[in-house]
């Protein structure tokens, strides 16, 4: 029953791809949005909200690209991901001080049009000018003249929305960059609290996407799944899931779920893609096993998994991005006058 549903949906995705190819006004040099829909054994592609673009239901996380020791290995990982049908690549201006963007830029050389490239801007409360300067740096590092999606990074401090929407704030930069054709779509990310996300969405800004942590534990603890996902859907904003295993594998390492269960759970939610950090071919292959010809969990399996992990979800021990400062980067801490990671690890 559930399988048939997914099959139908995949067929829909395929036909949607055809429609998009035919109707979307293609700017020269822009591609990625028309990748082939999922074959039975490929990685399925899904519509990115109302944008008309199609993205692979598994995305390659940019942070971990910069964690790989040798550049040749990150290049190989990107190539292998593209071959397997993944087109969604995540990144961020502040990851590894720019190394993550440089790695992706190098790996996509000559293949840029096969990829849907997202990066994020790290104003953390600063204004439009800082944002535009960071965009130029990102484009240079990524060796491209445009990014497909540009998101405001790490909206995790409670006064961030106020600063983002202030006159000359980062929100204005998103619109300007879009007008200038340097970015196709815009969005925001954050891992702290559903209330902050809802606050951002309530501003009625034309966000194309919103990124949030989605995993089996989130379902019952300060839940993005319960609170933000429906609101994004209502507004037609595409959802990008992240932290399917807790950010650094905490959920799997501690035995709450297997890595396969964790990823499959996150990908079974109504999201455009699930971004997963992959710092080795082993992890990529493990993820591809789940993503190829993706079979979502049925409702009963979803409920059973949520209930099984509920006791471990209840204090946030494996969702440390919500309950501690462990996942809050130094660039944002500096802007908000928080101690750096070395002084305040969590």
């Amino acid at each position: 029953m559930e399988n048939r549903k997914e099959f139908t949906r995949r067929k829909f995705v395929k036909s949607a791809a055809a429609v998009v190819t035919g109707s979307f006004v293609v700017r020269p040099g822009l591609a990625g949005r028309t990748s082939q829909g999922g074959d039975a054994d490929g990685v399925p592609h899904r519509p990115l909200g109302k944008t008309g673009a199609l993205v692979s239901c598994l995305g390659v996380g940019g942070y971990h690209l910069g964690s790989i020791r040798e550049e040749k290995d990150s290049t190989e990982l990107v190539a292998r991901a593209l071959d397997a049908g993944i087109n969604f690549f995540d990144n961020c201006w502040e990851y590894h001080d720019g190394v993550s963007e440089e790695r992706l830029g190098a790996a996509l050389k000559g293949k840029r049009n096969k990829a849907f490239v997202m990066t994020k801007v790290c104003t953390h409360g600063r204004g439009k000018d800082v944002a535009m300067k960071q965009l130029e740096e990102s484009l240079r590092r990524l060796q491209t003249d445009h990014v497909d999606l540009w998101q405001i990074h790490e909206v995790v401090y409670w006064n961030d929305p106020e600063l983002i929407f202030a006159p000359n704030g980062a929100a204005e930069a998103l619109l300007a960059a879009k007008q200038q054709g340097k970015v196709r779509f815009v969005g925001f990310t954050g891992h702290k609290n559903p209330a902050i996300h809802l606050f951002m969405l309530a501003q009625n800004f034309p966000f194309d996407t919103v990124q949030m942590p989605l995993n089996a534990l989130d379902a019952t603890f300060r839940s993005f799944q319960q609170q933000v996902l429906p609101e994004a859907k209502k507004r037609g904003v595409a959802v990008l899931g992240m932290k399917s295993l807790g950010g650094s594998g905490e959920i799997a390492v501690n035995g709450a779920v297997t890595p396969e269960e964790g990823l499959r759970y996150a990908m079974s939610l109504p999201v455009a893609t699930t971004i997963s950090g992959m710092d080795s071919m082993v992890v990529l292959e493990q993820n591809l096993k789940v993503a190829r010809g993706f079979q979502p969990f049925g409702e009963r399996e979803m409920v059973a998994l949520r209930e099984r992990v509920r006791p471990l979800a209840a204090d946030g021990r494996y969702e440390l991005f919500k309950t501690t400062t462990k996942y809050d980067g130094n660039v944002g801490r500096e802007q908000h006058h928080y101690p750096p990671k070395e002084k305040l690890p969590a």
């Binding site: 409670w158 209330a195 501690t324």
Partner: protein, 362 residues
């Protein structure tokens, strides 16, 4: 561009910046003209000093002699409320306070806290015996659940054989007079504790001019506790470690006077040096309530830097969560922190993750 003018006007999100009327004020005219004011302990007839002596910082005193003489000087100058906790400095704080209170125990109101952090009643009773032994007394005036910081702590507290059972038993046995709980994380967790229906006499919470703007205990918990006749014990009047005072956001006197001007029974403040004791005694002895206008003007001043929690790291990070709490909940132990190093070295800790659930079968 369709931007709302006021980012806080969204109907979905509660306003973080709270209106003036939301913060309650202490009733004027209740303070004496000299000496440290005494205030009623909630619905009970007992009175305690409006300034309380914090137990954690006592363990930071230069040595045991300094600690003993600070405790004696405090009692002799009118402080009657003494705070402590089973886990502060792995027992050193209780031990030093016990020594300082020799011969003065009956003049003061002694509180300590129990560190089950979700674990069972038996553990709490063992901790109580240790606390009484270190404090050299046969009873506590107030025994509180320490560090209610995690969302499931209220459920774990009230469950059968949870720490609530220990609180009831200790009171029946005459080892404690009153019961309460403390926490610094989230007003919602405090409200959940209150809603368990347990007959708490007291509740402790961070209260300062920054709290007024950010996940505010003063706005959300203080009125509810007042309404129920619970004694409210304010803490962290200087944000825990005095950071905003070092940064020049406000003076120590402004910070302490603001906290003491809220409708609380006492304000607990950390005292690790004789000069800090004297500074705080001076403020408390000549204490005059701030006017509503003074309080509002201080809040205006703190607003700009309050909205991201930079001066209330206990609400947003693990920094102020003691090692026992982290162990009991299986949260990371930051081995850089002095307290964690000390604890790991000095104790064979009994902490284990709760609840103990089996990993899934492959």
């Amino acid at each position: 561009m369709d931007l709302l003018q006021d980012p806080f006007s969204s109907p979905n999100i509660p306003r973080q910046v709270i209106p003036e009327r939301a913060i309650p004020l202490a009733a004027p005219g209740q303070e004496p003209s000299s000496g440290i004011p005494l205030r009623k302990f909630g619905r009970h007839e007992v009175k305690v000093s409006a300034l309380g002596f914090g137990g954690h910082h006592l363990g930071d005193a230069e040595n045991v002699q300094v600690a003993i003489s600070m405790v004696q000087e405090a009692v002799d100058n009118g402080i009657t409320f003494f705070d402590n906790c089973w886990e502060y400095h792995v027992g050193k704080s209780e031990d030093w306070m016990g020594r300082g209170l020799q011969g003065r125990r009956d003049k003061i109101f002694l509180m300590t806290k129990v560190c089950t952090h979700g674990r069972e009643a038996m553990l709490a009773m063992q901790m109580l015996e240790q606390s009484l032994r270190r404090l050299q007394t046969d009873h506590l005036d107030l025994w509180q659940i320490h560090g209610v910081s995690f969302e499931n702590d209220p459920d774990l507290f009230i469950r059968p054989n949870g720490a609530a059972d220990a609180l009831r038993r200790a009171k029946e046995q005459g080892k404690v007079r009153f019961l309460g709980f403390t926490g610094h994380k989230d007003p919602a967790i405090h409200l959940k504790m209150i809603e368990t229906g347990f007959p708490f006499d007291a509740v402790q919470m961070p209260l300062n001019a920054f709290d007024a703007h950010f996940h505010s205990f003063a706005e959300q918990v203080l009125p509810e506790a007042n309404r129920r006749g619970m004694a409210v014990l304010g803490m962290k009047p200087m944000s825990g470690h005095g950071d905003p005072i070092e940064q020049g956001e406000l003076s120590a006197e402004e910070a302490l006077r603001y906290a003491m001007s809220l409708p609380v029974t006492t304000t607990i403040t950390g005292i690790d040096k004789p000069e800090i004791l004297r500074q705080n005694l001076k403020i408390a002895q000549g204490f005059k309530l701030m006017t509503a206008a003074e309080m509002q003007s201080l809040r205006e001043r703190t607003r700009r830097v309050a909205g991201d929690g930079r001066y209330e790291l206990y609400k947003v990070s693990l920094k102020f969560d003691n090692p026992e709490a982290r162990l009991a909940h299986n949260f990371p132990l930051d081995e850089q922190s002095a307290e964690v190093k000390e604890m790991l070295k000095a104790t064979e800790n009994t902490g284990h993750p709760f609840p103990d659930i089996k990993p899934p079968q492959p």
